[in-house]
């Protein structure tokens, strides 16, 4: 069972998304992350989602999704044939001003950017592959614990994956 990335182009119509999401629930597939937005063609939307499945299940998922009348095309992406990005926003509160500076400096050394910095609140943004985002979050957690055992990430928001094919 491995993480799989599926990219779906579908008609930009009301209810189309619910058919895709409903199908996953109905057939007992899971959705780990999901992002939806219109494409360069405003009549089509792109759903990018990640799921956990083996090869046989992945083939079945792709075929079931493809059966939906409003799905224009569906593709399993992965490995070297695509570029994927996910955005994460983290807020940190309860840290002293000195601790906050230290975390933000550390985050920036990991190529994160600082969105908000005040006396009691820091908000950081990081963009990378899903794996990089996971790694970044682990690093920030470790850094906070290092500064004080009581420090925690106050809130974490991930966007879900967006991916583009390379060829």
């Amino acid at each position: 069972m491995t993480r799989q990335l599926i990219s779906i182009l579908l008609e930009n119509e009301p209810g189309a998304l619910s058919r895709v999401v409903g199908l996953f629930a109905q057939r007992n597939y899971n959705i780990e992350t999901l992002s939806v937005a219109p494409t360069e063609d405003p009549t089509l939307s792109r759903i990018t989602l990640t799921t956990v499945a083996d090869g046989v299940q992945l083939k079945q998922i792709v075929r079931q999704v493809n059966k939906l009348i409003e799905v224009y095309s569906v593709k399993a992406l992965g490995g070297a044939n695509c570029l994927e990005r996910e955005l994460v926003i983290i807020s940190i509160s309860g840290a002293s001003s000195k601790q906050l500076v230290s975390v933000i400096d550390f985050a920036q050394s990991l190529n994160a950017s600082s969105l908000v910095k005040s006396e009691e609140l820091g908000i950081l943004q990081f963009v990378g592959s899903g794996e990089e985002v996971d790694h970044y979050i682990n690093c920030i957690n470790a850094k906070l614990v290092e500064l004080s055992p009581d420090l925690r990430i106050a809130e974490l928001v991930r966007s879900g994956v967006a991916a583009i094919e390379l060829n």
């Binding site: 579908l10 008609e11 009301p14 209810g15 619910s18 058919r19 409903g22 109905q26 046989v56 083939k59 079945q60 075929r63 079931q64 493809n66 059966k67 009348i69 409003e70 799905v71 224009y72």
Partner: protein
């Protein structure tokens, strides 16, 4: 200039353009503008049912027997939710159907208005597609798309939800029925890859123990004639699923009858020992394969299906053919003819020899444990349900359309009535919907006014939709209902006998059964009660006699309440593991 019509009239005109003969429906508040439009025309006949579930089964029976989409019209809320069981039934068995549901006015949607249900949401898992009308002017193109989607590719039900304001008689638009359907994201396949047919053909020529495994898809593709030619030319045994019976004539020498959980001994043995399975429009359902890990251990699997998601879903296909069965059969039949015309005499001899060897095995299985199609009545004993089906087969000369409900009677009908024509046998195979039989028979009779239509049922299933006896009287439907009355929920009881130590939890009700003869007479029909094997032939003869030809006749046959359906697949076993009789069934507990 095209005429201006209200939404209700646009809908009815569009249905007329689609060639709709009947609407099966039930009126209510949100659908009343549409009902008024129905009143204004004569081309389409509306059949007033007594319950919306029955409307969907009627449309389903009409669709399966004619091949044309059945049409249902219901109101919002309970009208719509009552239709769900019938929609799910059609979905599981891939029957083309268009269900139109009234909806509360657009400005009330989402407010929990009176009789409001999110029909598009509620039906979503059991439809091929659904539409919500936003404006009356969309109605003609939505109707066109709905029929196209319902009837092409792997057929299925399509819902059109119509808010009441979009059928307002005062808001009119030009009627313009689109000739072409524009659906860029819906591209059903028909033709497959020639290379896959090549591989299938080569596998067939190499094979010494082939079996054709045909399902409902073979019937909807209309390939029966070609299939029969092809199977005959190479002397290939043919086993059918519950849904595929009739795709190949059951009385044909090469027919092994039904396979699967209650399939014939020879069909299941042949599948298990085959070295090649060619599956046509079947989906390797769990009631066929039993444990997929033990399924057909020696066979190369050729899987032909129009629905690519069905291919390799349960059993990985060695040769996958994403195509319509008729396309595949035509291609392989041509190859086969070419091969046979140039076959060397030595090769022919070898092929015929291996075929004879395969058939001698099959014949031995048939001889050993095959169904006894010539059961004799035992005087003084309760009627055996198998005997009742055989008597029905003779009384109708094997030519009736037969619908069934769900349970033991369904399996007996599938086993003992030899269906020689596609679409002749209509039952709820996938969803297993009790209450399907009578309304489905009504739809069949509407589609085939001159034919004999029989509903084989049990008293449990029959009581789930018996209110439609009233509809039958209204429209003069001369259906013959054969009620195999075992005074119990027979199949449940059988499982309880075999797996629950004979504890009949909630499966009997013999003290409270109605007198069916009196009951159907109260509905204005004819009732005949048959008890005792010696009265079976004469009772059925009367039911199908000329004086009763135009009457609905309910034949209440009191059968042996303790009978079980055999063979029965051993739970979690391979296809060749079957319980063959009661002694074995109870011993294996």
């Amino acid at each position: 200039m095209a005429e201006e019509l209200s939404g209700g009239d646009l809908l009815i005109r569009s249905l007329q353009e689609e060639g709709v003969e009947y609407i099966f429906g039930y009126p209510g508040g949100a659908a009343l503008h549409i009902y008024d439009a129905i009143f204004r025309q004569q081309k389409i006949e509306h059949i007033l049912v007594r319950h919306e579930q029955a409307a969907t089964h009627m449309a389903d029976g009409y669709a399966r027997s004619t091949g044309r989409a059945g049409v249902v019209l219901v109101t919002s809320g309970p009208g719509a939710t009552n239709a769900i069981t019938g929609i799910a039934t059609a979905y599981m068995d891939s029957a083309p159907m268009v269900v139109i549901s009234g909806q509360v006015p657009s400005d009330l949607i989402g407010t929990d208005a009176f009789q409001e249900t999110d029909m598009v949401g509620v039906s979503r898992p059991v439809v091929k597609h659904s539409f919500m009308v936003k404006s009356a002017k969309e109605i003609p193109s939505i109707v066109r798309k709905a029929f196209h989607i319902a009837s092409t590719g792997r057929p299925g039900p399509v819902v059109i939800d119509i808010p009441k304001d979009t059928t307002d008689p005062n808001v009119k638009y030009q009627f313009d029925f689109p000739e072409e359907v524009k659906l860029r994201s819906y591209r059903p396949i028909f033709e497959g890859e020639d290379s896959a047919v090549d591989r299938a053909f080569k596998a067939l020529i190499r094979s010494t123990r082939p079996v054709l495994y045909v399902g409902g898809g073979a019937i909807s593709s209309g390939c029966s004639e070609l299939l029969t030619e092809f199977a005959s030319a190479l002397n290939i045994p043919v086993a059918a699923t519950l849904m595929g019976l009739g795709a190949f004539p059951c009385s044909h020498r090469q027919s092994l009858g039904m396979l699967g959980m209650h399939g014939t001994y020879e069909a299941n043995m042949a599948m298990h020992e085959a070295d090649l399975i060619i599956s046509l429009g079947a989906r390797f359902d769990d009631r066929v394969t039993n444990d997929p890990k033990k399924f057909c251990p020696d066979a190369t699997i050729v899987h032909v299906d129009i629905d690519e998601a069905s291919v390799s879903k349960i059993i990985e296909a060695d040769i996958a053919v994403m195509a319509d069965s008729s396309w595949f059969i035509e291609k392989i039949e041509t190859k086969c003819q070419g091969y046979l015309s140039q076959e060397q005499p030595g090769d022919r001899e070898k092929r015929e020899e291996s075929s004879e060897l395969w058939w001698s095995k099959i014949e031995a299985w048939r001889e050993q444990h095959g169904l006894d199609h010539n059961k004799k009545p035992e005087i003084g004993k309760p009627i055996s349900p198998q005997l009742a089906i055989q008597a029905l087969y003779r009384a109708t000369e094997g030519k009736a359309f037969v619908t069934s409900d769900v349970g033991q009677h369904q399996m007996f009908a599938a086993q003992y009535y030899k269906f020689d024509e596609p679409r002749q046998w209509i039952n709820s195979g996938g969803l297993g919907t009790m209450g399907f039989g009578l309304p489905a028979a009504m739809g069949v009779q509407m589609g085939h006014p001159e034919r004999t239509v029989v509903c084989v049922t049990g008293e449990g299933s029959f009581m789930m939709n018996m209110q439609e006896l009233s509809t039958c009287l209204q429209y003069g439907l001369p259906i013959k209902i054969i009620n195999l009355n075992n005074q119990a929920l027979g199949m449940v009881k059988q499982w309880q006998d075999m797996q629950y130590g004979g504890r009949h939890s909630q499966s009997t009700y013999s003290d409270s059964l109605p007198d069916f003869k009196t009951l159907v007479e109260a509905f204005g029909h004819i009732g005949i009660k048959i008890e005792g094997a010696e009265n079976l032939e004469s009772g059925l003869k009367e039911a199908f006699s000329e004086p009763l030809r135009n009457k609905l006749v309910f034949v209440d046959i009191w059968v042996d309440p303790d009978e079980h359906v055999y063979p029965m697949a051993v739970k979690g076993g391979a296809m060749n593991e079957m319980v063959l009789g009661k002694a074995q069934g109870e011993a294996s507990q």
